[in-house]
């Protein structure tokens, strides 16, 4: 299973087993429902954003595959304390990375440990799994009710 190790790294498997910030947030300021009709990944993302535009808390709930769940879990831990502007930059770089259009090992970036998901680019049908939570997070910030990736 060498090739798939690229995808299912230990950290991802661990976050899938024990997702962080995995609960419905009662006092969120922003939230959005994300759905991938192809595989049924289905999450709600919650954000608490201060008046200063800083993300004070992030959580998620729902169900889906390991990639989507680990990606959401890692996203929540990553975004706390970041500004909304920064979160958009992270989303863009992350999205380009999983599409294989951006190599964080070769260019400056803000992705940090999110680089773990670089291997997703070799699994075309799993790209949406990794990016669903990010699309949904941006949807929440933009005050959309639902985001669906087709």
């Amino acid at each position: 299973m060498a090739y798939s190790d690229e995808l299912y790294q230990q950290v991802i498997i661990e976050h899938n087993k024990k997702p962080r910030n995995f609960f419905d947030m009662e006092d969120s300021t922003h939230n959005c429902h994300g759905y991938n009709p192809l595989c049924g990944d289905d999450y709600e993302i919650y954000l608490k954003i201060g008046d200063d535009g800083i993300i004070q808390a992030v959580s998620f709930n729902g169900s889906g595959c390991a990639i989507s769940k680990a990606s959401a879990s890692l996203m929540t831990t990553f975004l706390i304390g970041k500004s909304v502007e920064e979160s958009r930059t992270v989303f863009e770089q992350f999205h380009k990375m999983v599409l294989g259009e951006f190599d964080p090992d070769k260019s400056e970036n803000v992705l940090g440990k999110l680089k773990l998901f670089k291997g997703v680019q070799n699994f075309p049908s799993r790209i949406k799994c990794a990016s669903l939570c990010w699309h949904t997070m941006v949807g929440a910030v933009d005050k959309n009710e639902t985001v669906s990736t087709e």
Partner: protein
């Protein structure tokens, strides 16, 4: 299974190793591993007999059908109609004009849903489907109900995945116009009691459509014995080319139903004011049909008939039993759909490894499996799972391949549970 020795895995029913040589793709490797193709419920692979017939036809005999009086066209028409006869023989109707070619089951069901309902379904009427239907046998009826003010009733299923027949009987009423159920559920493998369903529906004057997408390639069947009114199938699920399928329809109904798709070749006479239609099956075959695919379907029917549908059924049942046994030994694996009467489809779920991850992990081992809702979301909802992984077997599969699946699943579970 680990202790079953190899000789036990050689079936006396079919010479599978020989059969496998008829299918070129089966010698392919995937990620460096020999291909183990277990998504036959989605689509089947094609034998040389089909591939070469299409090639030969397209390179030496191709012409349009029905419209011309010249040689290429006469010959193409002859082959086209010969396949219609082969389908009629396979499905068991003596009247080949009861066979309509379409692009597949989805198109066939849409044809019936729209054409039948325009003629026979009115406000307040009822349509019955089941809780284990493919979207192709759900959404068209939902739309018909919306359009015509009819009501959709749904036969519930038991926890093992069988239709609850007492509930079905309660749903039947003098308002029921048509009952549409699949012969074999693609999501669970359940073989439905279609003979009984038809009998009960006919007793109160309702018509019956059987979605045969999953049954035509696996069971021996006879529409006249089943006594159903419509029976649908897809060529690509029975070792034929993609892009071709069809429909058996009882002639009296086909005659009364209005056309669905309209255009050339389905008309008697067109003026700008008024158009009259041809008789069935032409009435339902507007435009240039999938000619080469019909010819290829003929070769596929010859191929499976030569092997023998009885043998195919028996051997695939053997695979089903074997596969069920070995998969049950994967810790935590739950098989969804345990009907007494099942075709060679095993849907399964694991709490620790999501079906989508299963598909990716199995693919790394060369095992091609389907994960998802199998176009049967209401079935997933019924069984409280977001999706399942599904192994669907064909007569070209081997028990060793199911061993490989079970072993790879054990590895995956270990990896995910740590």
């Amino acid at each position: 299974m680990a202790d079953t020795n190899v000789t036990d895995k050689v079936s006396p029913i079919l010479d599978v190793d020989k059969i496998r040589q008829d299918f070129p793709v089966l010698s392919k490797t995937i990620h460096g591993k020999p291909l183990i193709y277990l998504d036959n419920g989605a689509t089947t692979q094609k034998p040389w007999a089909v591939i070469n017939r299409v090639k030969e036809f397209d390179s030496d005999e191709y012409g349009t059908v029905r419209r011309g009086a010249y040689k290429l066209c006469e010959d193409s028409t002859k082959y086209y109609e010969e396949t219609r006869q082969k389908v009629a023989d396979l499905l068991g109707t003596p009247n080949k004009n009861e066979i309509v070619f379409t692009s597949g089951t989805t198109q066939s069901i849409n044809l019936v849903a729209h054409s039948f309902s325009r003629r026979f379904i009115n406000e307040g009427d009822e349509i019955i489907i089941s809780n284990i239907e493919h979207h192709a046998n759900t959404v068209p009826w939902q739309i018909v109900c919306q359009e015509r003010g009819a009501k959709l009733k749904v036969i519930p299923v038991s926890d093992s995945g069988e239709l609850i027949m007492e509930e079905y009987e309660k749903l039947l009423s003098d308002k029921t116009r048509i009952v549409a159920v699949n012969h074999v559920s693609n999501a669970l493998g359940t073989v439905n009691p279609v003979r009984e369903i038809t009998e009960k529906a006919h007793a109160i004057g309702a018509k019956v459509l059987i979605d045969g997408a999953q049954s035509t390639p696996h069971l021996k069947l006879n529409v006249k014995e089943l006594d159903c009114d419509f029976y649908t199938f897809s060529g690509h699920k029975m070792y034929g080319p993609s892009g071709i399928g069809g429909l058996y329809g009882r002639m009296e109904l086909l005659e009364e139903m209005p056309p669905y798709v309209t255009g050339g070749d389905m008309i008697m006479q067109v003026t700008l004011e008024k158009t009259t239609y041809a008789k069935p099956p032409a009435k339902f075959e507007a435009g240039t049909p999938p000619i080469s695919q019909v010819v290829g379907l003929g070769a596929a029917i010859d191929y499976i008939t030569n092997i023998g549908l009885d043998k195919i059924f028996d051997y695939e049942l053997e695979l089903l039993e074997y596969g069920t046994e070995v998969l049950k030994q994967v810790p935590g694996l739950r098989i969804i759909g345990n009907a007494k009467d099942k075709a060679s489809i095993i849907s399964f779920y694991h709490d620790s490894v999501h079906p989508h991850d299963i598909v990716t992990l199995m693919d790394q081992e060369g095992i091609e499996l389907r994960g998802g809702h199998h176009c049967a979301q209401p079935t997933m909802i019924r069984f409280g799972v977001p999706a399942t992984a599904r192994a669907s077997m064909s007569f070209y599969n081997k028990k060793e391949e199911l061993d490989a699946l079970a072993e790879a699943m054990k590895k995956a579970v270990k990896m995910f549970e740590g």
